[in-house]
């Protein structure tokens, strides 16, 4: 392993806007929205299950990517100097995540089984303080606003010191200039901006991670766990948000693999080091996801308590068993075998392939957290509505991330040159030999 070399002059490069890309986004959104409307008419129950599962997945991906950027900021990682902007770009999706959450809050009794069961179930009545609709709406709005707000502030801090470099680089266009002016209010000078952003990032990144753990656990409990209101698992929240973090790593790897062919600068800066490290992390978290899954499974299997194993049995038996097996196959077996070797991590094609498998696996995992709990006899275990409605969310994510990377430099131009503690007085005064 060698030390990480960060070039002195990082070129200002944007993602080129392309008609084909815009067309793809438009097609995805139209298909997704159309399908959702059609599904509402044909089978509104399934339409909402698909919507919520997709919301959980795409919010996980976006938040996971931003928190991945925050985590590497906290540990002052240098290897991802060229890829952390790509991770942070997923913050652009968060306003859509908030908007797509709002219709879910109006679902009430048509989505949450506990609303109807409350009247005649003493156990549910004893937890009415948490399981009630006004509180559910309030905590989700406040939680999502707090989480997405902190994440967007993080992205703002990351971008701000680059605004100057954007104005001096060629190829400015009105949209970009508008955002540059809007975000650059109160500019205090390049170096001062970098120092200030860096200091603020040191504070806001741990805050983001804390809010992430709490709010994502809440999303998991509210939108998935409470659907079988007698079931509870202490690991459920942790399993959910660590899976999301893993999705953030995978989506970063997929994105850079898509960027690499677009420009020689991307190819050189998102090099072997970056791909190897992203591959190692994607592989490591494959094992970690499985570890968490297993830690939850074995305890429930061994305990054999009726109310606890019901959740597992529903997912292990017909008709859901095969879907569960497929999820584990995609989340563990394929990426584990695929990313074990070094070569697969270095090659953008294979890295992107196996990270896409991870994303599909997690997309199914989110479905499996929700759909079996709301299953009625005769429902399909994998209705086409799910992928069709996913198009809407995927389109919004693609649009927002593409917008971000076309508006702000794809590779962060300002770089914190040295880990800050290396410059402390103790270091500076004691260089003389004893």
């Amino acid at each position: 392993m060698s030390s990480i070399h960060i070039p002195e002059d990082i070129p200002v490069r944007y993602l080129e806007r392309s008609k084909r890309g815009d067309l793809l986004v438009a097609a995805l959104v139209v298909v997704g929205l159309g399908s959702f409307v059609a599904a509402l008419i044909v089978d509104s129950h399934m339409a909402w299950i698909s919507w919520v599962s997709n919301w959980l997945f795409f919010t996980s991906v976006a938040m996971g990517a931003v928190v991945f950027a925050a985590a590497t900021t906290i540990v002052k990682a240098r290897w991802n100097w060229s890829t952390k902007r790509v991770s942070a770009a997923f913050a652009a999706y968060l306003p859509f995540a908030f908007l797509t959450l709002l219709p879910m809050l109006s679902l009430g009794g048509s989505y949450f089984p506990w609303v109807a069961e409350m009247a005649h179930d003493p156990i549910l009545q004893s937890k009415q303080a948490y399981l009630n609709l006004p509180f559910l709406v309030a905590r989700n709005v406040v939680g999502a606003a707090a989480l997405f707000g902190v994440a967007l502030y993080f992205a703002y801090l990351v971008v701000r010191p680059d605004l100057k470099a954007m104005s001096t680089a060629s190829g400015d266009h009105p949209g970009r200039a508008r955002w540059r002016d809007r975000l650059g209010v109160g500019w205090i000078g390049q170096e001062e901006e970098e120092v200030r952003s860096w200091h603020r990032l040191q504070v806001i990144s741990p805050v983001l991670v804390l809010v992430y753990a709490v709010v994502m656990s809440m999303f998991a409990i509210d939108w998935a766990m409470s659907l079988e209101p007698h079931w509870f698992s202490t690991l459920f929240g942790g399993w959910f948000f660590m899976g999301a973090f893993w999705a953030g790593i995978a989506v970063t790897a997929v994105s850079i693999s898509r960027l690499i062919p677009l420009h020689p600068d991307f190819r050189t800066s998102m090099g072997l080091q970056q791909r190897h490290d992203l591959g190692k992390l994607a592989f490591g978290f494959t094992v970690f996801w499985t570890y968490l899954f297993w830690s939850q499974y074995i305890v429930i299997w061994y305990g054999k308590l009726p109310w606890e194993q019901a959740w597992m049995i529903r997912r292990a038996d017909a008709p859901w068993g095969n879907m569960s097996a497929l999820t584990i196959f995609l989340c563990f077996v394929v990426p584990f075998a695929g990313l074990l070797g070094k070569r697969a991590k270095l090659n953008p094609g294979t890295l992107s392939l196996f990270c896409s498998v991870i994303l599909v696996g997690l997309w199914l995992e989110r479905w499996m957290l929700v759909a079996p709990s709301l299953h009625h006899d005769g429902d399909s275990v994998f209705p086409l509505w799910y992928p069709l409605i996913a198009c809407l969310f995927a389109g919004l994510m693609l649009a927002s991330v593409r917008w971000f990377l076309a508006t702000f430099p794809v590779i962060q131009v300002w770089q914190p040159p040295e880990p800050i503690e290396m410059l402390e007085p103790e270091r500076a005064t004691s260089l003389t030999p004893r």
Partner: protein, 458 residues
């Protein structure tokens, strides 16, 4: 060996007060010279404590396990609590040497030798407790599965058997890892030693000469062992946690136990590294090697794991309420306000509240403050295991079977003795093997050749 330390020309050296290779050899090998009064005093104390432990154990062997306070309903008491405590302490060594190595965290270099040694001795301490707890240690080999005339097989579905495998595997790999890492340093010590000591070093350094080929193989072996040891950091304490989580006792049966125990283990292990290295640094004058930067990094790791542990505590309390199960709710209410409220609040304050101070840089940079906090954490983590193990059992399903457990003098003697036993080995280690890794430290120093060149060109 291969490490990615990012040093640069801008004075970012990790050890600014250490200028040359010979400094390192001189300073570190000086520790192995004649011990001072302080060392002898500590060693005397440790030996007395070991005496106390074996005396107490002797009483138990002669009179039977009845002299311990464990009985119905609390069958697992101080012994198992202390077992889990020491297995937890054992975690930081492998974390520091394997996981931080793979994550390319350069600050591990100064502390990893001490942490690894601590791991080995902590497992040695932990390993005593199942033997003490079973009451008849001469039958302990029954736990080992082998074809035998008695047609006795351990029950493979018992988490206790998994534990035997997990802990012995961990001990084997961490001891191998520890030994492998010391070989070049033993060779360095060999050069400076005389007499019987030299013979001893000659033997255990396996004829290390420091050739390119040897370093090449060494580096390969090191990274392979690091990769193999990484899953072990997670597996050991997960399996230990399942000793409890597999049971349906309220307070034990929680899915979060495995990751929560691992985080707790790293939390307590890092705290113990601080508790041990602060005096070590002071007594042997290692201030130039263990700088505030190293303590700052350790404190951040402690802060992270304390947040995970706190998350787990709060999740457990929330889920106990959310479950709607009478027994879960009662059990956790009893934890907070029942007979053992003092143990629970000690745990919450020491592990959840005290580490909050580490958010402040001034605290992280004050070594006395870190030392005090680390002792709080050690106490808190012992009490965490006490709360989980004892408090959960004393208030189970049937009110008829509720009861209060009080540790006996024998158990307390063995508990105190276990710290002495651990200290005993650690003190011997400090005198026998370089407690700071010489070879790895040199890697992060400017190489002598290159320095001269720089001067010439300058």
């Amino acid at each position: 060996m291969a490490t990615a330390t990012e040093t640069s020309a801008r004075g970012a050296a990790p050890h600014p007060d250490v200028t040359s290779y010979s400094d390192v050899n001189r300073d570190i090998l000086a520790i192995l010279q004649r011990p001072g009064k302080g060392w002898w005093a500590l060693f005397g104390l440790a030996t007395a404590g070991v005496g106390l432990m074996f005396f107490s154990w002797g009483i138990q062997l002669v009179k039977g396990i009845g002299v311990a306070g464990i009985s119905k309903p609390v069958g697992w008491g101080v012994y198992i609590t202390t077992f889990v405590f020491w297995v937890g302490i054992a975690h930081s060594g492998t974390l520091v040497s394997a996981i931080l190595f793979l994550f390319r965290a350069p600050w591990r270099q100064s502390i990893y030798r001490a942490a690894e040694a601590m791991t080995v001795f902590a497992v040695m301490t932990a390993g005593l407790f199942p033997l003490i707890h079973v009451g008849r240690p001469w039958l302990a080999y029954w736990l080992v599965p082998y074809p035998n005339a008695r047609f006795l097989w351990p029950n493979f579905r018992s988490p206790l058997v998994w534990d035997v495998f997990a802990v012995t595997t961990y001990f084997t790999v961490s001891a191998t890892f520890f030994y492998l890492g010391t070989i070049p340093d033993i060779a360095a010590a060999r050069e400076a030693a005389t007499g019987l000591r030299k013979k001893f070093y000659q033997f255990i350094s396996l004829g290390w000469r420091g050739t390119d080929r040897e370093w090449h193989h060494f580096g390969k072996a090191y990274i392979f062992l690091a990769a193999l040891a990484t899953p072990l950091v997670l597996s050991v304490h997960s399996v230990v946690s399942w000793d409890f989580a597999m049971g349906i006792t309220p307070g034990w049966h929680a899915t979060i136990f495995a990751p929560y125990f691992v985080a707790g283990a790293i939390f307590s292990g890092m705290a113990m590294v601080i508790t041990l290295t602060v005096p070590l640094r002071k007594v042997f004058g290692l201030q130039a090697y263990l700088t505030t930067k190293h303590y700052d990094a350790m404190a951040k790791l402690i802060l992270l794991t304390s947040m995970i542990v706190l998350y787990a505590y709060l999740t457990e309390f929330f889920m106990a309420w959310y479950s709607g199960e009478e027994i879960e709710r009662t059990s956790f209410w009893d934890r907070l306000f029942g007979s053992y409220w003092w143990a629970t609040w000690t745990m919450l304050v020491c592990n959840g509240i005290v580490p909050i101070m580490l958010w402040f840089k001034r605290v992280r940079h004050s070594i006395p403050a870190l030392f005090v906090i680390s002792i709080f954490i050690n106490i808190g983590m012992w009490f965490e295991r006490f709360v989980i193990i004892v408090v959960s059992q004393h208030h189970e399903f049937v009110p008829f079977a509720w009861g209060v457990y009080r540790p006996s003098m024998v158990e307390m003697g063995i508990l105190i003795g276990s710290f002495a036993w651990f200290g005993f080995w650690f003190l011997i280690f400090c005198r026998l093997l370089p407690p700071v890794a010489i070879a790895e430290l040199k890697e992060v120093l400017p190489a002598p050749m290159r320095r001269k060149e720089a001067v010439d060109h300058g």
